[in-house]
């Protein structure tokens, strides 16, 4: 199994490198602007907090108000709620759909399945390489945040930063995992894997953020994971029960479903 994981990481090393650079640079730039924004926070806060609730929700990250002079509010609204998840969801969904689906499409999956490795082991190895690939990008980003935050006057505990990054990473990865599970399960879910994951993630983000503006959205958004995603919880020491339940369902039920489906399904 480790051979498959190392092979994936080695084969994808340049892509992982560029994703890591992209994520690190983006976070670095946002952290770098904090001192300038803090100095004008009063006016900016007024502008943001006067926005309609739904529009403000797109940036507030689950908080009632935005206070850009406060490091935690800044990190939550500018990095962890939207920017980082959006970037990471793109990585997770493209890799989740491709790590198995692209191999099947290119017929290289047959080279692997012609060897004495069970479909279950292959599937688990692919899932772990997806996690490992994603973990490298997230870890490099976390290190950047931990190193640069104090440099730009954001004195937030390392544990809180690590927890918020881990939470955001697992949440973002979950959408890639949905695409991966759908690719593996059967030929019908395979065809809609990418579309479903994108709709569920980005569609969910928009709807969850706009739900405050439209009362009819209040009930349906309860079925969207972004409704429960509040990175602020990690900073304030609260358990994000809804998000944890969602992630547990995706990773546990998804893995079970993928294994059962992939063991018996025809390779196209």
């Amino acid at each position: 199994m480790k051979d498959v994981i190392f092979w994936e990481l080695r084969r994808r090393r340049s892509t992982i490198f560029w994703w890591t650079i992209g994520s690190v640079v983006l976070v670095g730039i946002i952290l770098m602007v904090f001192p300038s924004i803090r100095d004008q926070a009063g006016q900016l806060n007024q502008v943001i907090n006067k926005l309609p609730e739904g529009v403000r929700g797109l940036k507030a990250g689950g908080a009632a108000d935005v206070n850009l002079s406060d490091p935690i509010s800044f990190l939550n609204s500018q990095i962890f709620y939207a920017t980082l998840p959006i970037l990471w969801i793109i990585l997770a969904v493209t890799r989740g759909a491709g790590i198995l689906g692209r191999e099947e499409q290119n017929h290289t999956l047959e080279l692997l399945l012609a060897r004495p490795i069970s479909r279950t082991r292959l599937l688990v190895a692919k899932a772990l390489s997806l996690v490992a690939e994603f973990g490298i990008v997230a870890l490099a980003t976390l290190i950047t945040i931990i190193v640069l935050a104090p440099v730009f006057d954001m004195h937030v505990g390392t544990g809180k930063l690590a927890l918020a990054t881990l939470y955001t990473a697992i949440f973002s990865l979950s959408f890639g995992y949905i695409a991966f599970v759908m690719q593996a399960t059967n030929r019908f879910t395979k065809r809609i894997a990418m579309t479903a994951a994108v709709l569920f993630s980005f569609g969910g983000y928009v709807l969850a953020s706009l739900s405050a503006m439209a009362s009819w959205l209040e009930w349906p958004v309860k079925f969207l994971p972004y409704h429960y995603f509040r990175p602020l919880d990690a900073f304030e020491g609260r358990w994000p029960h809804g998000a944890l339940l969602y992630m547990a369902i995706v990773f546990i039920a998804g893995t079970t479903m993928a294994i059962i489906g992939f063991r018996r399904r025809d390779i196209e």
Partner: protein
């Protein structure tokens, strides 16, 4: 069940299709035998290969490789198999050496000496990235990865596609060696001259059904004297079919192909009892055999 590959009434109907892609296929390939699997596009060759490798699930019947069931013991069967797909698909950004090392680890069998010999024999360029190789050189990498662990069963789909005549010769020689070592070789091919040259036996598949098996090497029909007779009376075709003194091969309308079972004189005596319009002799080859079954444009 004996034989390295044993297929019994194997069938596959794809979801959404009413007609089976493979219908009750039964055949056996013995250890050391090279079996050619011939058929037109869509006849069921690839479906058979994909079933043997458990890439797809059968809807009927079963197949065994080295005594192991292809579905329930799929992983164990793969320890014995070397596989080359029709349109060889390899990861473009890796080198041949990286590919061999990776697949060797997955195969859990170290045959580095034989691998080096194959690389030398096929004049492969394993230090180059796959994407930098020509089609022929990629095919060499594909052939080598199928052969490198000296498997007991080789399943090859159009193996010489893209290889130049010199390399084809090297390939035939390598297959002969594998066969002499006791490996069963199952080759799907469109190249009839190649099959006639390489195979001990061939099976012709049409519309998912095995319609004929034929010895290529040995004492059977191919290469033997064959009479092509055009008869004036259609009933004479039936008469010839029933006659045990001759070997009746096939017929189309009032034209029949027959071969002597004993002496030529005995055969001529049988033919003399029919109303013959024309009679010619020929040496039947695999191409004639194939066209005999596919001659109706199917």
């Amino acid at each position: 069940m004996s034989g390295s590959i044993v297929i019994k009434k194997l069938g596959k109907t794809y979801p959404g299709s009413r007609t089976p892609a493979l219908d009750k296929l039964s055949l056996t390939v013995k250890a050391g035998e090279v079996y050619g699997f011939l058929g037109a596009n869509g006849a069921g060759k690839s479906t058979t290969i994909r079933l043997l490798l458990n890439f797809i699930q059968p809807t009927a019947g079963r197949a065994r490789i080295m005594g192991l069931d292809c579905v329930t013991d799929s992983v164990a069967t793969k320890r014995h198999i070397g596989y080359l797909s029709g349109d060889v698909a390899l990861w473009p950004k890796v080198t041949g050496n990286e590919l061999f090392a990776y697949l060797g680890k997955l195969q859990q069998r170290d045959n580095s000496e034989y691998l080096a010999e194959l690389i030398h024999r096929f004049e492969a360029e394993p230090e180059k990235r796959i994407s930098d190789l020509s089609k022929g050189n990629r095919q060499k990498i594909g052939v080598i990865q199928a052969l490198m662990h000296q498997p007991d069963v080789l399943i090859l789909d159009e193996p010489t596609s893209g290889l130049d005549p010199l390399m084809q010769e090297v390939f035939y020689q390598t297959i002969r060696e594998a066969s002499a070592r006791g490996a069963a070789v199952f080759v799907s091919s469109h190249n009839l001259a190649e099959s006639q040259r390489m195979c001990d036996r061939v099976g012709i598949i049409k519309h998912g059904q095995l319609i004929r098996e034929q010895l290529v090497k040995g004492d059977d029909n191919l290469g033997g004297l064959t009479f092509r007779i055009t008869l004036t009376d259609p009933h004479d075709v039936e008469k010839l079919k029933a006659d045990r003194a001759i070997k009746f091969l096939s017929s189309e309308g009032t034209t029949a192909l027959v071969q002597p079972k004993g002496s030529i004189a005995e055969t001529l005596a049988v033919l003399a009892t029919c109303n013959i319009q024309t009679i010619t002799t020929e040496q039947l080859n695999l191409e004639d055999e194939f066209l005999e079954y596919y001659g109706d444009g199917a």
